[in-house]
Amino acid sequence: MSARWPETPVDFPKAAHETLKDSQLRSNLGHATTAIRAKREDVVSEVDDWESLRDEGAAARDRSLRRLDEMLVRLEESVTAAGGHVHWAADKESAQRLVVDLVKATGSDEVIKVKSLLTDELELNPALQDAGIHAQETDLAELIVQLGGDRQSHILVPAIHRNRREIRDIFRRELPGAEDVSDDPAALAEAARRHLREQFLRVPVAISGANAAVAETGTVAVVESEGNGRMCLTMPKTLITVMGIEKVLERWEDLGTIMRLLPRSSTGERMNPYTSLWTGVTPDDGPEEFHLVLVDAGRTNALADPVGRDTLRCIRCSACLNVCPVYERTGGQAYESIYPGPIGAILTPQLQGLDTAPTLPWASSLCGACYEVCPVKIDIPKILVHLRGRVTAETNASGKGHHAGAERLAMRSVARVMDSRRAYEAAQKAGRLGLSLMNNGRGARGALPGLSGWTGSRDLPDPERSFRDWWREREAGELEQGPDAPALPQAAQDPAARSGAAMPGTPGPEDALPTDVPRLHGEDRA
């Protein structure tokens, strides 16, 4: 059983502080995001009309979202006319109850599952477990997460924080028949295939999410790679599909637009191996019974905000994760939600309520790379800034000012470190060491000890040496003055500050410290 997410409120600086200690995680992630970015760029550059395609993707999503009530009613009619059953859940608890009851009605005490972010958001597996129903994840990455009692760290590749040796150890320990499996990815995939095949043929109930549904036809879409989705959608007698209300599209052709955008943005392929579309039930082909559960669970919170509602356009491609300098450092688990990265930073607070995730809108350097790659043109930086304003205004109004203090907290951390000159210098040195170790050629950023709350959401320039080091070396005659010498920080050009700050061993006034160290510096990504 996959682990539950921690209780709210989500505390990004604290969680990031923990994940930043994990260098294996950073290495696995850096490799993954670099590789997916390159693949995406290749296949996106093939599409001549990519920019107008993004416009159409955004427009198609907006057309439906702005008339969402109508769309949902039409979808219900179409699905029902095609022999399916539609259910509605306003919140997590009612969705859990609905699904548990639907499974119980079949008499089965086990279900097979297609990877679904929504069912994880709804903590459906633990709810099924509590009702005595075993939910078997069948996507390879979800299986790895489930067997490891772990949490997902990426929308597309949830087990990307694990390397092949870690996965081998989990399989050897937890997967029946895999006691001697090697760490070869093909062998690990084969072990999963053997283990799950019997269940695909036997288990009578499947639960899936949905990538989209078309209101006018009642057609539901699931996009995948491995064939586990096809198995779950085809083999069992009963299929229960759980879908967020925002996923509905108005027209059949809108789905064609999304299918041009999604695979290239997500896996960096022209097309993913398998996409299944189905409309109700079909005699002698697939499930005899089809239930579509439409879930709000906070989506209407976002819909009510004229700026925030664009978040609901999201088609869960995860392109924004792969370009995000903050995500690449902290990993997905620091966001303490199934939706990590830039999209998670705006989606989670809106779904769960701003007071349960007040720090997430600060989990960004506002560099804009996420907006550039978004296939449905969600202006994530604009929404982040908007939500920061809302967090501050709403928590001040409610008297819960301490929640609004993410940035203040970060500033306090900076202030605390700066209180002690020695600590500050140590932090700077360690930071530069970290930067050079992690430098990947795109500028550098890192976790300054005691400053991770800040550097998790702000980028740092890559100083070749600190002003203080530079000054000491200059005094000692080690540094040649020349065109390559670093520009002096403002403070150093101030004679009064120089006299105070420059003398080794002499405590200087705090205002003589370089004032621009924790400054915004994300432009190198855009």
Binding site: A189, M271, T275, L277, G280
Partner: protein, 223 residues
């Protein structure tokens, strides 16, 4: 209040709230759609691009003319293990391998013993190297092209469209009063694959591990 009423009431309230406060923000209008200018497509170029893109997924592509299909199918089944083949009832006789079992009649357990399935398709998409199955009589129900480990799919060049949006236009189901039931559709782009472990691509997880596409085009070299 039923779940349905509650959700719809929330949606309507949210839409009204957003409408009311929209003027407080400087909002850009939703992006406008500019339909793309489509170049005329040459059927030969479409077939070439389709073949190249299918092969990019590490599927096998065999090009032949109508007379060469039987031989191409037979060659695609040469090293089969287990050596049992099935085909849907509606597959053209000329394409049906000798001794093929009737796929539609097989239950789950019997399907497990089938080594390969031979089908036609509904549509091909050149830009993405995708075959689309609508599971009609010459393709059979969805399980048939899923459980066996090898799928041999015969595609006629005239079934190929340029891009995904053209495919959706071609595949549009009937709507309105008296519309026929929309068939399930499966878009297949290469063999089953995963990149879940260190992003290393592994072909073949749960779907067919081998995909052979026989592309039939008048004038193509037989076999």
């Amino acid at each position: 209040m039923s779940g349905r009423d509650e959700v719809l009431a929330r949606v309507r309230a949210a839409l009204r709230t957003a409408e009311r406060s929209a003027s407080e923000h400087e909002l850009e209008p939703p992006p406008a759609y500019a339909p793309r200018v489509r170049p005329a497509t040459d059927p030969h170029e479409l077939a070439d691009r389709f073949a190249e893109r299918v092969a990019d997924y590490r599927a096998t592509v065999v090009r032949t003319d109508e007379a060469g299909v039987a031989e191409a199918v037979s060659a695609a089944l040469a090293d089969l293990e287990p050596a049992t083949v099935a085909a849907p009832a509606g597959l053209p006789d000329a394409w049906r391998p000798a001794g093929a079992r009737d796929g539609g009649a097989l239950d789950h357990a019997e399907l497990q013993t089938i080594g390969a399935i031979v089908t036609a398709c509904r549509t091909g998409i050149a830009e993405t190297g995708t075959i689309v199955l609508d599971h009609g009589p010459d393709q059979g129900p969805r399980r048939l092209t899923l459980v066996p480990d090898r799928h041999v799919c015969v595609v006629r060049a005239e079934q190929i469209v340029d891009d995904v949006d053209d495919g959706f236009v071609a595949l549009r189901p009937e709507t309105g009063e008296g519309a026929a039931h929309a068939p399930p559709l499966t878009f297949v782009s290469g063999p089953s694959a995963t990149s879940d472990i260190e992003l290393q691509r592994v072909e073949g997880v749960h779907g067919p591990r081998t995909l052979v596409v026989v592309l039939v085009q008048p004038g193509a070299p037989p076999g």
